[in-house]
């Protein structure tokens, strides 16, 4: 069942030439700035999110260096506040989700057998906005104007009165700006997965990673408006003196918390869900079998994405709700562990029943399971309200959520980097270097964060820029700091491994792992049109099944080659029945332009240059109007010659 070659394309030379003509781009600065190719955009997402990860990681190293010894004076309290806020905000908003969306962008069309995302220009717009919003937020740090009130920015602390200066304006405007990108990306994933699946890919044949990305996208669509509303009101309160959060004028302080956590709890799953999808995608290749209980895993994904909206109040147990209403939320918080458990057991069963091939991606998956389960365990400890009261705002909490986030997002992302590097770059990585990286990251992670449980229990609060020498604090803090440097070296080795692969790696075959999904049935890296022949899918593991593979080779049909234009196939949502072919847009300046005028708008708002902001708003409207202006359609599409 494992084959290492792409099927000999069933398309003729001449057809391939025409496909190249319609889809290919000659490298140039212009092509670079105007491309709408999902593979290039996906790659950019990955690199940019990687850079923001590095910045947030360096901020963490600075904090750990400061905290190595008691009474250290390396960082001022003001600097420390900005560092932990930017670290948390960037890790959550500028690293985790964009990184996973980067994989989604690169992979979803390849996994479902399509030639691009449903809205390629929107996709490019999303990337540029993400880049600019990230730079917008990070640029405030050198000026000492970075957000400084924690990543969840509770009012009244974040009001103008208690936090003057630009800090929280950067936060609210930056996240509003970024939200446009995340929303656009989510809509794109949903439509792509519902409408562009290869013929034959009915819902029961959709890869788990795609299920996970789509569930995530739905969560974003429902959760993000709450955060956007929150930030819009915060900005209005701070800048224009409205009173949304001001109890003295009939506002409400708890409103911020409610809205924030209506977004914030689903966000935990928004971060972790696609990462779990990566795990389900990586395992089949290294266990030589499909994930056990596909249907149950689909159920778990769907259930988590819905229930995660009904648990936010557990972040607010200290705010005095009636116990009865609180218990409605506790019921959901307890039950949501069941579908999460189902996924873990499905992976364990897959590993037990399969034949393990221990390569670097599998090591990271195992590292993920260990770390994530430990994080989940400390999480259930919070369910005891008395314990929760005791450790709230201590380093125990910091330990817990780093286990969940590094276990649940960083490890799977690293597995994905090694797993798909051959597909993305066309080069193999160095296995030995990868193993070193794994062990350093794994050890570094546990040496850094395990001791935090201890000094958290010994009473050390989080978000302190320094601490007095206390029994049980000094020694373990030093251990944490040493661990963080170990972790940094491990992550550096990952980067070295990637660069080494690109420079020196051996060329990758189309299917180095014997993977089960469609991306392995085409070249590494894929051609601009992804598939010479769009597949006809016959099973859940198309690359392991002869008839699906043959549909791209000997069984090719002209209506799946579509060499006469830049087109891909539209199919029905549930059953993947062929509907018609659709024209796809080519490269365009509009995405970059629109993102730039939006950047101008948000910058002008930040510095209170309102006339400039007004001009920028008009420019945004104008660009959107040209974008949406109906183009002159070629006759063929109007049905004239059909």
């Amino acid at each position: 069942m494992s084959t290492t070659a792409a099927p000999v394309p069933g398309a003729s030379r001449e057809q391939l030439g025409r496909l190249e003509e319609h889809w290919g781009e000659r490298p140039s600065l212009r092509a670079w700035l105007t491309t709408v190719d999902h593979k290039k955009i996906g790659r950019r997402y990955l690199v940019t999110a990687g850079l923001f990860f590095a910045l947030a990681g360096l901020s963490a190293l600075a904090m750990r260096t400061q905290l190595a010894r008691p009474e250290s004076r390396l960082l001022s309290p003001q600097e420390y506040n900005q560092l932990f806020t930017m670290h948390g905000t960037a890790m959550i908003f500028l690293f985790a989700t964009p990184m996973l969306f980067g994989f989604g962008n690169f992979l979803v069309p390849l996994l479902i057998g399509a030639r691009d995302m449903a809205f390629p220009k929107l996709n490019a717009l999303g990337y540029w906005i993400f880049l600019f919003a990230g730079l917008f937020m990070w640029a405030s740090l050198p000026f000492g104007a970075a957000p400084n009130a924690g990543w969840f920015a509770y009012v009244p602390l974040t009001g103008q009165q208690h936090t003057p200066g630009l800090h929280m304006d950067v936060y609210s405007l930056g996240l509003l700006f970024l939200g446009i990108a995340t929303t656009a990306g989510s809509i794109n994933f949903i439509v792509t997965a519902l409408k562009l699946r290869a013929p034959g890919m009915s819902l029961n044949r959709v890869p788990l990673f795609v299920w996970a990305i789509v569930a995530t996208a739905f969560m974003v669509i429902f959760a993000l408006p709450a955060l956007n509303l929150d930030n819009a009101m915060l900005f209005l309160d701070r800048r224009f003196g409205t009173h949304f959060f001001d109890p003295a004028a009939g506002g409400n302080v708890l409103l911020w918390q409610h809205l924030f956590w209506i977004f914030g709890h689903p966000d935990v799953y928004i971060i972790v869900m696609p990462a779990l999808g990566i795990v389900s995608a990586v395992l089949p290749a290294f266990t030589r079998r499909g994930v056990v209980g596909y249907v149950l895993v689909v159920f778990a994904i769907v259930a988590i994405s819905i229930i995660s909206f009904g648990v936010w109040v557990h972040h607010m147990f200290a705010t005095g709700l009636p116990r009865l209403s609180y218990s409605f939320f506790s019921a959901a918080s307890t039950i949501i562990t069941i579908p999460s458990g189902i996924q873990i057991f499905a992976w364990l069963a897959t590993m037990l029943l399969g034949r393990l091939v221990v390569r670097v991606p599998l090591l990271f998956v195992i590292g993920f399971i260990v770390t994530f389960v430990l994080g989940g365990f400390t999480g259930t400890m919070f369910a005891l309200t008395a314990f929760d009261q005791q450790v709230t705002d201590s380093y125990f909490v910091v330990a817990h959520f780093h286990y969940v986030l590094i276990g649940g997002a960083v490890f799977p992302i690293l597995a994905a980097i090694y797993y798909w590097l051959p597909k993305i770059t066309g080069r193999m990585y160095h296995e030995g270097l990868g193993r070193w990286a794994f062990w350093l990251v794994f050890a570094g992670m546990h040496v850094t964060f395990f001791p935090m449980h201890l000094y958290g229990l010994f009473g050390m609060p989080r978000r302190v820029y320094t601490y007095p020498s206390e029994p049980g604090w000094d020694g373990w803090n030093l251990v944490s700091t040493i661990g963080s440097y170990l972790l940094a070296v491990g992550l550096l080795l990952v980067v070295v491994g990637v660069v080494h692969a690109i420079r020196r790696g051996r060329p990758a075959p189309p299917d180095p792992w014997g993977g089960d999904t469609l991306e392995w049935s085409t070249d590494s890296p894929p051609k601009s049109y992804n598939f010479p022949v769009l597949p006809q899918v016959h099973s859940l593991h198309p690359n392991w099944d002869e008839s699906s593979r043959e549909s791209m080779g000997a069984g090719a049909e002209a209506d799946r080659i579509l060499a006469d234009g830049r087109t891909t196939l539209l199919t029905s949502e549930l059953d993947g029945r062929r509907e018609r072919e659709v024209e796809m847009p080519g490269s365009s300046w509009q995405p970059l332009l629109l993102a730039l005028v939006m950047l101008l708008f948000f910058t002008a708002m930040l510095f209170a240059w309102y006339p400039v902001a007004a001009v920028a708003a008009v420019a945004v409207a104008g660009t959107v109007a040209t974008w949406l202006w109906p183009p002159r359609r070629p006759d063929r599409e109007l049905g004239v010659s059909a």
Binding site: S202, G310, P322
Partner: protein
């Protein structure tokens, strides 16, 4: 799934199908918003009656009605599952897809029913406005 049903029957079948898949989820959302909203707002206004109805009864309705709706969805999912089971040779792929959704619907309805029932248990033991 052999004979082609008329449009009315198709619509009813389609509605029943989505009820089987998503009924529990919707019922739970209604339960959560209604139960929490009624409880918190009434208690905040310092009363334990809402329009003459005792608060406990009102919240009880916000538990019982969604629970019943979920039981219905559960039964619909079982029906759907039996219709799409066992797999036959050379089946249409929409049958496989229907079976997937039936199983997903069955388990999620069961899960949502559990959540709602747990909320009901809390209602039995906690006075509605205790903080």
């Amino acid at each position: 799934m052999s004979a082609h049903p008329g449009p009315r029957a198709r619509l009813a079948g389609g509605l029943l199908f989505w009820y089987a898949v998503l009924g529990g989820a919707v019922a739970w959302a209604v339960h959560l918003l209604a139960g929490w909203g009624v409880d918190e707002l009434t208690c905040a206004s310092g009363s334990d009656h809402i329009g003459g109805v005792p608060l406990r009864a009102a919240v009880g309705a916000a538990v019982a009605l969604p629970a019943l709706a979920t039981v219905g969805a559960l039964l619909a999912a079982v029906l759907l599952w039996r219709r799409t089971h066992p797999p036959s040779e050379g089946e249409d792929r929409s049958v496989g897809r229907g079976r997937l959704l039936a199983v997903v619907g069955f388990w999620s309805n069961l899960l949502f029913l559990t959540i709602i029932v747990l909320g009901g248990v809390a209602l039995l033991v906690l006075p509605p406005c205790q903080r």
